[in-house]
């Protein structure tokens, strides 16, 4: 593999990781193309990954002119600041604080409340964990209403995809895949009309389509994952 020197921009990632997906989405939104993407085998991490992220050893890592940036939301803000292009975070300090607040909520509250549902294997488990995931979804529906204002703009970022959109967007393909396998609908159109509309619009956006894995591919992986775990228990 070519040495790091001479490669302007490189992203170390893993196709299933929501954190890597959100960075790819952010790069696409910003209009940053032509970077080298390296798919890491997390069971056999590369020397480059371990030396670029010695503290955590995790993906995603964005390596810009040899200098590594780690932690997905830190990377997204870096992309926003280091390149010219459509703004990912708004320019007003108060609006920026709201965007950061919701992105933090998505990672610190929403995802941990959904994770048990993703891990559930039986119908009873699923019913319970799905129910427990709903309060955070209700909060996100309210957040979208707040961010998109009474004019009903399509994204958390307003007219265009922004920070909160990619924060949540990294998880979207997974949410859909798990819904498909479980027969559920997390962003239910009747209960959460704005989120349901957001999900559709977001997934259809050019920047996102190319940056996100296919839901069908995640479905295949998820089914295998669940079967393997069940098999191991016996």
């Amino acid at each position: 593999m070519a040495a790091a020197a001479g490669v302007e921009l490189r992203l170390l990632g893993e196709w299933l990781s929501p954190y890597c997906i959100r960075v790819k989405q952010a790069l696409a939104v910003k209009g940053v193309a032509g970077y080298e993407y390296v798919e890491e085998d997390l069971e056999h991490k590369s020397e480059l990954l371990l030396s670029s992220n010695p503290v955590h050893g995790k993906v995603p890592v964005l390596i810009h002119r040899g200098a590594p940036v780690c932690e997905s939301l830190v990377i997204v803000q870096y992309v926003d600041e280091a390149w010219a292009g459509p703004a990912i975070l708004p320019s007003d300090p108060y609006e920026r604080s709201r965007a950061r607040f919701w992105a933090a909520y998505i990672d610190d509250k929403f995802f941990p409340s959904w994770e048990p549902f993703f891990k559930s294997k039986t119908a009873e488990d699923r019913a319970e964990t799905f129910k427990n995931a709903i309060p955070a979804v209700e909060t996100l529906e309210k957040a979208l209403t707040e961010c998109s204002s009474s004019e009903g703009k399509p994204f958390f970022g307003g007219d265009s995809i922004g920070y909160v959109d990619v924060a949540l967007g990294g998880y979207l393909a997974w949410i859909k895949a798990v819904d498909e396998v479980a027969g559920t609908s997390l962003f239910d159109e009747a209960k959460f009309p704005r989120l349901a509309a957001w999900a559709e619009r977001f997934a259809a956006a050019d920047a996102v389509r190319d940056a996100s894995p296919a839901v069908e591919d995640i479905v295949v992986f998820y089914k295998k994952m669940q079967a393997a775990e069940t098999g191991a228990e016996h």
Binding site: H64, V69, V74, P93, S97
Partner: protein
């Protein structure tokens, strides 16, 4: 500062997150009204209204608009008052990313370790937490050594974002050994961090804001006693 800027900070005297905000406001030379929340007896209407999602302090209310979450408040202060006082974050995007990385590390790893070491449910939990705390402290020593390049602060020649983020924890770092049996900073193992903590703690802008360590110890012991009593009551 623009005329008519109204700032109110909702806080609690022992909270390291609130202290971060006080430190940042102090470094920027900004004046504000401080409101001590009584977390035990009842949170104020203003707090519940200003932070409906988390109901937590600190909340900075600037001209009536609430900003929540300490790291977010710090960045807000830096950006809304960019022309006032020193900047907390550097101007170079890469250096900003490095500063944000370490702030996230302090909150995600260091604080989590502290929580586990002090409030873990079992002795094994606590022991694991103490181990993780040592790892975190040594990692930060490495950060000072490698990124700091012999400068007095994480921010370089002067105090920056990471200094304030870590500085908020200093009172508890000193109280930890007596309150929770979590080893305090060891000059043999982490000499740079010890020197940094003394330097930071002695700053004119910092010293008056630091909470009384003996009061923190008392609070820590009280919280543990309350939890032990609740656990004993629950198992009967």
């Amino acid at each position: 500062m623009a005329g008519g800027d109204e700032m109110k900070l909702l806080g609690m005297w022992a909270s390291p997150f609130v202290l971060r905000v006080k430190l940042a406001l102090s470094f920027k030379g900004l004046s504000y009204e401080y409101v001590e929340e009584d977390i035990v007896r009842g949170k104020s209407e203003l707090l519940l209204k200003s932070n409906p999602v988390h109901n937590k302090v600190p909340v900075l209310i600037h001209n009536g608009k609430p900003v929540c979450e300490s790291l977010i408040i710090l960045q807000y202060i830096d950006e809304a008052f960019a022309g006032t006082g020193p900047s907390l974050l550097p101007s170079d995007p890469y250096e900003r990313a490095v500063a944000r990385f370490w702030a996230a590390y302090i909150d995600d790893k260091m604080l989590a370790a502290w929580m586990q070491a002090s409030r873990g449910k079992t002795e094994e939990d606590k022991a694991e937490g103490k181990k993780q705390w040592s790892v975190a402290v040594e990692t930060l020593e490495g950060a000072l050594r490698d990124c700091g390049k012999g400068k007095p602060f994480f921010g370089g020649d002067s105090v920056g974002y990471v200094d304030v983020v870590l500085g908020g924890l200093l009172g508890w770092v000193h109280a930890n050994e007596e309150a929770f049996g979590i080893r305090s900073l060891d000059p043999q193992r982490t000499p740079l961090l010890v020197a940094w903590s003394e330097r930071f703690g002695a700053l004119e802008t910092v010293e008056p804001l630091m909470p009384d360590v003996s009061r923190l110890v008392e609070l820590g012991k009280m919280v543990l006693a309350r939890e032990a009593a609740a656990a004993a009551g629950a198992s009967n």
